[in-house]
Amino acid sequence: MNNDSLESTSEAIPPETTMVSDTTEKVRKSLGRRYAREKRFKLFGVIAITASLSFLAVLIISITIRGLPAFKQTFLNLDVTLDADTLDLGENPDQDALRKANYNGAIKNSLLELFPDVKKRKEKKALYKFVSNGGQYDLQAKVMADPTLIGQTINVWLPVGDDASGYLRGHIDTSVPEKKRRFKNNQITWIEELRADNKVQTKFNRTFFSRGDSREPEMAGIKGSLFGSILTLMVTLVLSFPIAVATAIYLEEFAPKNRWTDIIEVNINNLAAVPSIVFGLLGLAIFINFFNLPRSAPIVGGLVLSLMTLPTIIISARAALKSVPPSIRDAALGLGASNLQVVFHHVLPLAMPGILTGTIIGMAQALGETAPLLMIGMVAFIVDVPNALTDPATVLPVQIFQWADLPEKGFVEKTSAAIMVLLGVLIAMNAIAVLLRRKFERKW
């Protein structure tokens, strides 16, 4: 009986399958292809995302590899005799004479003492290149701080010149024939001798953080541009934050729905997408040519950047204000607060974390911006560290742009190192923004 029924069912299956088979069979046949397609599609997604992220990795790694050496600087140990004759100093020199004294001569003499065999003019010249041009300023600072050093022989570590430091770091390919090399064979023997004597040392590069721009890669630093960036960002923050918050409050809390507010809104959204270089044109035509503000000054840079970051901050501030639930407003109004009191005492404090997050992101954008600042003349070669808002200054990204154009190997390192500093600051700013958002984010 049991067997029978089983048999009968098994016999019953074939006609059934043939009945549905037309579509089911088609579907079943195509399933393999469809699943393969599904897998392929998903794979494309994985490829896209890993490729995008590996671009990021390649970019950061390639810049780090290039930039790391710039944080180290090579120094040469020298016994420099500071006698008054070599320094061109008379009796009882004053500060001015000390500033103008011939420290280079003293350095050259001490180099010659190390290698008494060097006699030819050309060889001497090659030897002098071992010490960077900036070495004299180090000596100058030492002597001006303590004039009693004159007449003594002091032992100092002086920065090594560009070519020699390139060789010591292995950037110079010695298999290239001597004629095509910037660093010649005799220079190599000398520097190897010095290295064997333990007179060459690599230390942390303080120059990079304590000096302004320079034409010599080993003496160039980012202090000037860093200060320029700080001054510019200060102006940007002071101008854009209050204006953006006020705009956001008006549009979100008070503005009637009419054509005028529509125009304002469309304007803000458009400004957020206008190319930054156009803001530079605006700055050039209006702030510099019309209002006669000084070129290259942080104040003009700050003005231009604040116009540029306003839309970003306004949009995020509006989102933050919008996320505060209406019940807060109703409660405050019910207790007798005026409309403005509701906003300033209750809504704004609750929206503040969101607004600050947007502000930090806007500031990070302003910090990385280059193009509009080129338009208002912040590309000048400026050695001094700016102290006031109207001093000529440059900013970090523009400094990177300028260095990137220079052919010396040392500047490639400096550029990458400056990029690392810039990226470090930017990532820190973004991390703070993310943390702020996580910490204060409220689900109502």
Partner: protein, 459 residues
């Protein structure tokens, strides 16, 4: 007293006004006078009464001062100099200003200019003194007025709130003024340019070499301003960038929105945001120093002749820069598609990829297109990457291995460095700026409109 000092004095005056006003109101309240508002609102009101006249006079004076100084100096000059043409007169004035501030002047021994400089210095000193006195007096008068107003009939809070409201409205109008400023500054200079160079030559000319010479008889003295090669170059590089950015960005967005687990999402999204936050100058450096030589070496090894500033390198890196932009915009749009539509499709037996391709993407298409248009406008306006990695010579070509130039590159090269401001060369930069602004504006308006329409559809 210089301006910053004056600012400080006025600020102190305002602070005093607040304290005085508040304490006055507080005493009145203690004496059981019925007051309309809390004491601090009377303080605010007094402070506003002090600040308004002081700052109004300060601003008006600062704007009017240079013009008055100029005319006073000119009238002190002998008539021979007064009748000089505008440009030369300005030079003389500049010289006098330099002399007055103790700077270097070419004509330090010229007695007329010396006298004018002394006059200038004296007038300026007088003006500054007067300004300080009047501004401080105005502030004091305001303070007094505000103080007089503190009595039970004054609705201090209403007044303060009205003032704040006006300030809020004024702030929100700045966006309009910015747009207006952009349009006016670019438009005026462009009109001056089109006076010198006909618009048809600019828009249809095939040859671009803006170098104009100083002397009229020099060879090639007339620059030619046919902008077609520049527009073509911009389009070429943007097209390469979009070829990279759209597939990668869109697929990343689809993967993140539809397939990725929440942990992958939590990691990948911030990392992509880092990619978006990297300054463009860094991308430019990367393009010029790493990507361009790489492409050239690869090209050489397979026997192709690649320019060292090829459009391909700039376009590729620009594409990488735009990936996160496309992906985050499309991600928003895709997640906004209602879940019910997916469920319906899956319930009918479609695979996930079929659902995405046949249901989700068509539904999200307007939003995605809007996002891509925004990305295109971004690519067209991108400056640093092309300045550092693309060429300067305006070649009319569609070969991505050759060097081309773009609108933004030309604007930067024409405007950096010292130039006479009314030469056609500088004005050409503004004409290009106008083109750039108009193009991106149109793209943005269309894109924002599409995105907004799309959002309304599913809200």
């Amino acid at each position: 007293m210089n301006t910053s000092m004056l600012f400080l004095v006025v600020a102190i005056l305002i602070a005093i006004a607040y304290v005085v006003g508040r304490s006055r109101a507080a005493t009145l309240r203690k004496n059981e006078t019925p007051m309309h508002s809390l004491p601090r609102y009377y303080g605010y009101l007094t402070a506003i009464c002090t600040a308004l006249p002081a700052f109004a006079i300060l601003i008006i004076w600062s704007i009017a001062e240079p013009a008055i100084l100029k005319s006073s100096t000119i009238s002190s000059l002998p008539s021979g100099i007064q009748s000089l043409p505008e440009g030369e007169l300005d030079l003389v004035l500049n010289d006098i200003k330099n002399l007055a501030t103790g700077g270097i002047s070419q004509s330090a021994d010229d007695s007329i200019r010396q006298a004018a400089a002394t006059h200038y210095g004296e007038t300026q000193g007088l003006s500054r003194l007067l300004k300080s006195i009047i501004v401080i007096l105005a502030g004091l008068a305001g303070l007094l007025y505000g103080f007089k107003k503190i009595h039970s009939n004054t609705r201090a809070r209403v007044g303060v709130e009205r003032a704040i409201m006006i300030a809020l409205i004024a702030c929100s109008c700045i966006a309009i003024f910015t747009t207006l400023g952009i349009v006016l500054s670019v438009l005026f200079e462009s009109l001056r340019f089109f006076n010198k160079v006909p618009f048809t030559e600019f828009a249809f000319g095939l040859h671009w070499s803006p170098q104009t010479s100083i002397r009229a008889d020099q060879v090639g003295s007339s620059g030619s301003f046919g902008a077609v090669p520049i527009f073509a170059g911009t389009l070429l590089i943007s097209a390469i960038a979009m070829l990279v950015a759209v597939p990668f960005g869109l697929m990343s967005a689809i993967y993140l929105a539809e397939y990725a687990s929440s942990t992958v999402r939590a990691w990948a999204k911030p990392l992509l945001e880092i990619l978006a936050g990297i300054p463009t100058v860094v991308y430019g450096f990367f393009a010029a120093l790493t990507v361009a030589p790489l492409i050239r070496n690869v090209g050489e090894s397979i026997g192709l002749d690649v320019a060292s500033e090829s459009a391909l390198a700039a376009g590729l890196v620009m594409g990488i820069m735009i990936i996160p932009f496309v992906s985050s915009l499309s991600d928003d749009v895709i997640t906004a598609v209602p879940q019910a539509m997916r469920d319906g499709s899956l319930g009918l037996g479609a695979t996930k990829s079929e659902t995405i391709k046949k249901v989700v993407i068509p539904a999200a298409l307007p939003g995605i297109v809007g996002g891509i248009l925004l990305a295109v406008s971004r690519a067209i306006g991108e400056t640093m990457i092309v300045v550092m990695a693309a060429g300067l010579a305006a070649n009319l070509t569609i070969n991505p291995l050759e060097a081309v130039t773009t609108v933004t590159v030309q604007i930067v090269t024409l405007l950096t460095g010292d130039q006479a401001f009314d030469s056609p060369k500088t004005l050409a930069a503004f004409a290009l700026g106008l083109m750039l602004f108009v193009t991106t504006l149109i793209l943005n308006v269309i894109a924002l409109h599409t995105v907004r329409k799309y959002r309304e559809q599913y809200d």
